[in-house]
């Protein structure tokens, strides 16, 4: 398709009197990963529920693959994959049975579940009941389940939360593969490093409002300091100095810093996504 895979325009939702989402707008293109960042209760899950057709937006328009999600349209569900934060697998079924069952709900026959399980590193546990899986294995199977229909739009809610580094890396690799395949990915995560690493763009949401939707790079440029911090040991004491990158003497000062005896470290003072989020919203992500 040529248009955006996800299109949200002025969407609002309220639980009773409490406004959970306040007229937010954003788009996600095919093949793009949008990191959806915000603290608990910011409106991330509500937005995903609206986009997956679980909740009807009170106002505004939300489209997935060009179709209005307010309509009870199984055609949307046919092309989306959802990985929930909660591990809602069938514990009494094996990994393979879980995948085959969900494939059959999509009307798919002959899905290569072995290949899917290989992709998440669970091929050798295909015949094991999920009840005997560790948290990391369950999470990997959740991601595999979300991919069973080769979705054009992927909603991933904290897909690496609480996982060991190896499992996290495997899942990040999968997300990148899916984006390369052309799937639009809406990724919610608390892990700023992960968001920075994976997302083509990030959206900051807090108290139902979107504060920014941009690439991590341009947010950092806009909100970070254009300077490097130099630390050196001078006469037995550690001394710190900041060198502005846009000054006339930047080159000279950096040369001096590098040549100086006792140089300990040189770091850019680029802002992190978390610090930018705090700067913009006045609160942290936890």
């Amino acid at each position: 398709m040529s248009g955006p895979a996800i299109e949200v325009d002025g969407v609002s939702y309220a639980y009773g009197d409490r406004e959970a989402v306040k007229g937010i707008s954003f788009k996600v293109a095919p093949g793009e990963v949008l990191g959806f960042l915000g603290p608990n209760g910011a409106g991330k899950s509500t937005t995903i529920k609206i986009l997956t057709g679980q909740l009807p937006a009170k106002s505004g328009v939300a489209r997935v693959l060009g179709r209005d999600v307010r309509r009870d349209d199984p055609e949307i569900q046919r092309h989306i994959g959802v990985c929930f934060e909660e591990k809602n697998l069938y514990e009494g079924m094996t990994a393979e049975e879980n995948l085959k069952f969900f494939a059959s709900l999509f009307g798919l026959k002959g899905v290569d579940t072995t290949r899917l399980l290989e992709r998440v590193g669970l091929a050798d546990r295909a015949k094991t009941r999920v009840a005997g899986f560790s948290k990391g294995m369950r999470q990997r199977l959740m991601v595999a389940r979300a991919l069973v229909n080769q979705p054009m739009v992927l909603f991933l809610d904290e897909p690496t939360d609480g996982l060991d580094p190896v499992s996290s890396k495997a899942i990040r690799g999968l997300i990148e593969e899916e984006a390369r395949r052309g799937a639009a990915v809406l990724l919610t995560t608390h892990d700023m490093w992960e968001a920075d690493e994976l997302s083509h763009r990030v959206a900051f949401i807090n108290e139902g409002q979107l504060y920014a939707v941009d690439t991590p790079e341009s947010l950092k440029l806009r909100y970070g300091k254009r300077s490097v911090k130099v630390r050196a040991r001078v006469g037995g004491e550690v001394v710190e100095d900041s060198v502005a990158l846009d000054a006339e003497d930047t080159g000279e000062r950096l040369k001096e810093a590098v040549a100086a005896e006792g140089l300990l470290t040189i770091h850019t003072e680029e802002a992190t996504l978390e610090s930018i989020f705090i700067q913009m919203t006045g609160r942290g992500l936890d």
Binding site: Q54, I80, F84, L105, F106, R145
Partner: protein, 354 residues
């Protein structure tokens, strides 16, 4: 609605069913209850009185004994074998009919009739076999009974207690499968959040509910029939029985869906069932106490399927005798399904908001 998706969810539930305690209760407990009732009120472990006959001359008495209901007749090879079997308590009694027994009897020559009684046989069994044998002798002799026996039934024309307990057991089978299994299957998916995973696929909530209802319905029909068969209460009209069981299972399942869509979790489900349980099982109590005013049972919605079932299965009624009650049961089922539609809408909204 997609029949294929409904069947996919149904097959999954059927596969996972045996791992669920509710499923096991629904299948095992009605059988266990039947067993307990049989032991307590009838003679599951008491076989029919066992009579061995050694007929040395082709007596009509042996054939007449064979034709009797309720007595197990066997024919040991000879007198010695008969004695051995009675002594070993493999037979309750043994009868030796000498050659020319029938002719001697009819000629009034008082032939010898050897009658062995097992020392370990029950007194009631001995009485039954003795009286039966004397009665058969009179039949062979061709004499009319010397007295006219007038039977007075102290049960007031009602069925024995063991039969009146059958509606309770069948109701249990229907409620466990139709109501409990259906409702629990939905609430379990909701609590474990697997329902969330289902409804973001092309499956609609209505399809999930129908799949659960199908599971409860199939198990309810099967267990009601098994329970009736175990209690020897299949009536005289197979078609009538099947239709009545199907209506009963349909109404039970519809009630199960009402609970399923009203309860948010298992605790609430149990509370709802406990709170309204009397309305469901109420009518079966009236069968246990026939002296109570029976019209009160009609107040309970489930009366409209359990009474036709009782009459067809135990009193030999046909479909033509119970069609009116079955129509009322169907109307109540439709009303329950109407409530399910409204409750399912509320459930869908709540699910998303949770």
């Amino acid at each position: 609605m997609s029949a294929s998706r409904i069947l996919t969810v149904f097959r999954k539930d059927l596969k996972l069913g045996p791992r669920s305690p509710i499923f096991l209760y629904a299948v095992i407990l009605p059988v266990l209850m039947t067993f307990v009732v049989q032991v307590a009120f009838t003679s599951l472990f008491e076989p029919a009185p066992r009579l061995g006959i050694v007929d040395q001359g082709g007596s009509e008495l042996a054939a007449a004994a064979e034709a009797l209901d309720g007595i197990a007749v066997s024919h040991p090879a000879g007198d010695a074998e008969l004695r051995r079997l009675v002594e070993a308590n493999d037979l309750d009694a043994g009868l030796v009919l000498p050659p020319g027994f029938d002719d001697d009897l009819r000629a009034g020559r008082q032939p010898e009739l050897r009658f062995y009684i097992g020392g370990e046989s029950l007194a009631s069994t001995r009485v039954i076999l003795t009286v039966t044998t004397l009665d058969l002798v009179r039949v062979v002799e061709g004499r009319a009974a010397p007295v006219e026996v007038v039977v007075e039934d102290f049960g007031g024309g009602t069925l024995p207690l063991s039969a009146r307990l059958v509606p309770l057991i069948v109701m249990y089978a229907l409620v466990m499968a139709g109501v409990f299994l259906t409702a629990f299957a939905v609430v379990d998916e909701r609590e474990k959040r697997t329902l969330d995973a289902l409804i973001v696929t092309p499956v609609r909530l209505g399809e999930v509910l129908l799949a659960k209802a199908l599971l409860g319905f199939v198990v309810a029909v099967a267990m009601a029939l098994v329970t009736l068969a175990l209690n020897d209460a299949l009536g005289g009209s197979p078609a009538g029985l099947l239709v009545t069981v199907v209506v009963a299972a349909a109404m039970s399942t519809a009630l199960g869906l009402v609970f399923a869509t009203a309860a948010r979790n298992t605790q609430m489900l149990f509370a709802l069932i406990k709170g309204t349980g009397f309305l469901i099982v109420g009518p079966v109590i009236f069968y246990l106490f026939p002296e109570w005013p029976q019209w009160i049972a009609r107040v309970f919605p489930t009366y409209w399927f359990i009474d036709p079932l009782y009459r067809v299965a135990l009193e030999g009624a046909g479909l033509g005798d119970v069609w009116w009650e079955l129509l009322v049961a169907l109307a109540l089922t439709l009303a329950a399904l109407g409530a399910v539609v409204a409750l399912a809408r509320r459930m869908e909204a709540r699910l998303a908001a949770e």
